[in-house]
């Protein structure tokens, strides 16, 4: 048992869970790309991202993805958010409108646009996290590797060992919980010898970390040796012919989902093109100065 629940597969039986993982990966990529469509004006950007956000919320509800774990994962992002804020505020950007001064820190003028820029980036990051969470919490890690292997199949022509890569990946995934347990056990064993992983100066902390990493490494090595013995003993030959127990299948619901996502993607694209042509609205100016210029 551990506390790292972010993005872990949660075994519900929703439509999203039942989708073909290959299809899910493709759909998620389309959604991710559409998030990063850059439009010229803030108003359009807000409408677009808002629209996407609502759709993602809808998918999360449909897939029973927990909002609580989303908030938890966001709380881990505080440092990143702060970092982005600082960067956007203190690095002068010629694109900022010189009229949009919010306040001064000493002689330095802080621009409204900086906040909006940073906020926009963060908002899109949150959506990225939402998308990945939807994918990982509705798809078994193993199914993801099968899907990746499928996508790598064309590489076989250039003798890329996609099946070996997939096997390596799946074993890595299989052993993550085991190694997390092991980490906890070693941490406790070292705490019993007076190690404090949370306090103390840099040198102490480095030493504490070494006392964790080396044993973990030693045990992982011995595990991998036993594992490779077990695999070989059961007749595994990476270059031999192997049949497959798991097969992926594309159902009608996958088609529906795919069409839906493509439709969203298409709508976004249209929006983007239209925006470039017709809607040059300076939304930001409007929101802060309450005098729309259109």
């Amino acid at each position: 048992m551990n506390n790292l629940t972010f993005g872990r597969y949660v075994p519900f039986n929703t439509v999203v869970h039942r989708l073909d993982p290959r299809n899910k990966i493709l759909m998620m990529i389309l959604l991710l790309v559409s998030i990063f469509f850059r439009v010229s004006t803030w108003s359009t950007a807000l409408i677009l991202t808002g629209f996407q956000f609502l759709i993602l919320i809808g998918i999360m509800l449909l897939a029973h993805v927990s909002f609580k774990s989303l908030f938890k994962s966001l709380s881990m992002m505080w440092i990143l958010i702060l970092f982005l804020m600082i960067i956007y505020i203190f690095i002068p950007n010629p694109a900022y409108n010189a009229d949009h001064i919010a306040f001064h820190i000493g002689n330095y003028a802080v621009n409204y646009d900086a906040f909006v820029q940073a906020g926009y980036i963060i908002f899109r990051l949150v959506m990225m996290i939402m998308i990945t969470m939807i994918l990982t919490s509705t798809t078994k890690p193993m199914d993801l590797t099968y899907a990746l292997e499928w996508y790598m199949t064309p590489l076989k022509i250039v003798r890329f060992p996609s099946h070996i890569v997939a096997m390596t990946l799946s074993i890595a995934l299989r052993f993550i919980p085991t190694l997390l347990d092991e980490t906890q056990r070693i941490m406790k064993a070292q705490s019993s010898r007076g190690v404090d992983f949370n306090h103390g100066g840099l040198i102490r902390r480095v030493r504490a970390l070494i006392s964790l990493v080396i044993p973990l490494f030693v045990s992982a090595i011995s595990r991998s040796e036993e594992l490779s013995n077990a695999m070989e003993a059961r007749g595994y030959d990476p270059y031999g012919k192997r049949s497959r127990y798991r097969i992926l299948s594309f159902h009608f619901v996958d088609l529906v989902g795919f069409v839906f996502v493509v439709a969203i993607f298409g709508a976004m694209l249209t929006f983007l093109i239209l925006d470039k042509k017709y809607m040059n609205v300076d939304f930001i100016y409007w929101i802060f100065h309450a005098k729309p210029n259109f």
């Binding site: 048992m1 506390n3 629940t5 092991e182 056990r185 070693i186 406790k188 064993a189 070292q190 705490s191 019993s192 010898r193 007076g194 190690v195 404090d196 070494i210 006392s211 080396i214 044993p215 030693v218 045990s219």
Partner: protein, 281 residues
């Protein structure tokens, strides 16, 4: 002073769907200066219990009294937590996986250095601890990774003993060792006990319970199922716990049932039985 466990409960992942109640309102005492075994099936709460004993995890409710230390759900209140861990030390299962220093003596001294000892003092004490666990001088400067499984384990135990705890907890100290290696470890434990340490052994091996323990605590699905002497445990109904009654004990019980006047509470090994039979003859 005995270790007092009062209405101790522990819940893993509280308020999540995966919530598991590992310990369920248990109260008992662990006698001072004795060897106590804690037994129970996998997942019965044994590991959780020992980890609360030295404050590695905080109980959800209830308390533990060990000397001047009182462990409660609020560990932050217990300022001397590091002191507690020195007073009550745990040798975890497969302790050889905690070794990491480049030499045996440095590894044993590691704990002391965390408690602020100077290098020379720590090394000196490490040598004492190593000799207590029967590790020869010629090993001191060698890498712990070169040693055999049994030797590594003894070094790891020395790494705990060096802290001079009054209460020593060992989680499955003989797991993975051959009978000979197990014997060495068990004799060490007996020796520590003779020097006045309170010993707590978590084990599946009922022969350790019968031959080596003064007191035994049985946990079953997070609840206290038994606390008393080994002979009272084995003489009672243990069918619902993961317990094999040792052959020696069932044999003695069989004799008693057929009217042979053996005192089952005094039989810890086959020699005891033979001595009693001799007396009866």
């Amino acid at each position: 002073m005995a270790i007092k466990i009062n209405h101790l409960s522990y819940v893993y992942l509280q308020k999540t769907p995966n919530e598991v109640q590992a310990l369920h309102d248990i109260s008992f005492e662990i006698p001072e200066g004795k060897i106590t075994s804690i037994v129970g099936h996998t997942g019965s709460g044994k590991s959780t219990l020992i980890q609360t004993l030295n404050g590695l995890i905080a109980p959800t409710s209830g308390s533990i009294e060990i000397s001047d230390f009182i462990v409660t759900s609020n560990l932050k209140k217990l300022k001397k937590i590091k002191e507690l861990r020195k007073h009550v030390s745990i040798v975890f299962q497969f302790p050889e996986y905690q070794l990491f220093e480049e030499t045996v003596e440095k590894d044993v001294a590691f704990g002391l250095r965390n408690y602020g000892y100077k290098d020379e003092d720590a090394i000196k004490k490490a040598h004492e601890a190593l000799s207590k666990v029967g590790i020869d001088k010629s090993f001191y400067k060698r890498s712990p990774f070169e040693l055999s499984g049994g030797e590594k384990r003894r070094v790891a135990i020395a790494g705990i003993i060096v802290l001079e705890p009054d209460v020593l907890i060992l989680d499955e100290p003989t797991a993975g060792l051959d009978p000979q290696g197990s014997e060495v470890i068990l004799n060490l434990i007996k020796e520590f006990n003779k020097q006045g340490k309170t010993i707590i052994i978590v084990t599946h091996d009922m022969n350790i319970v019968l031959n080596r323990s003064d007191h035994v605590v049985v946990l079953n699905e997070g609840k206290l199922a038994f606390s008393g002497t080994p002979s009272d445990l084995f003489a009672g109904d243990v069918s619902s716990y993961s317990i094999d009654i040792p052959a020696l004990f069932s044999f003695a019980l069989l004799l008693k049932e057929h009217g042979v006047g053996v005192d089952i509470s005094k039989i810890k090994n086959v020699d005891d039985l033979a001595a009693q039979l001799k007396g009866l003859k």
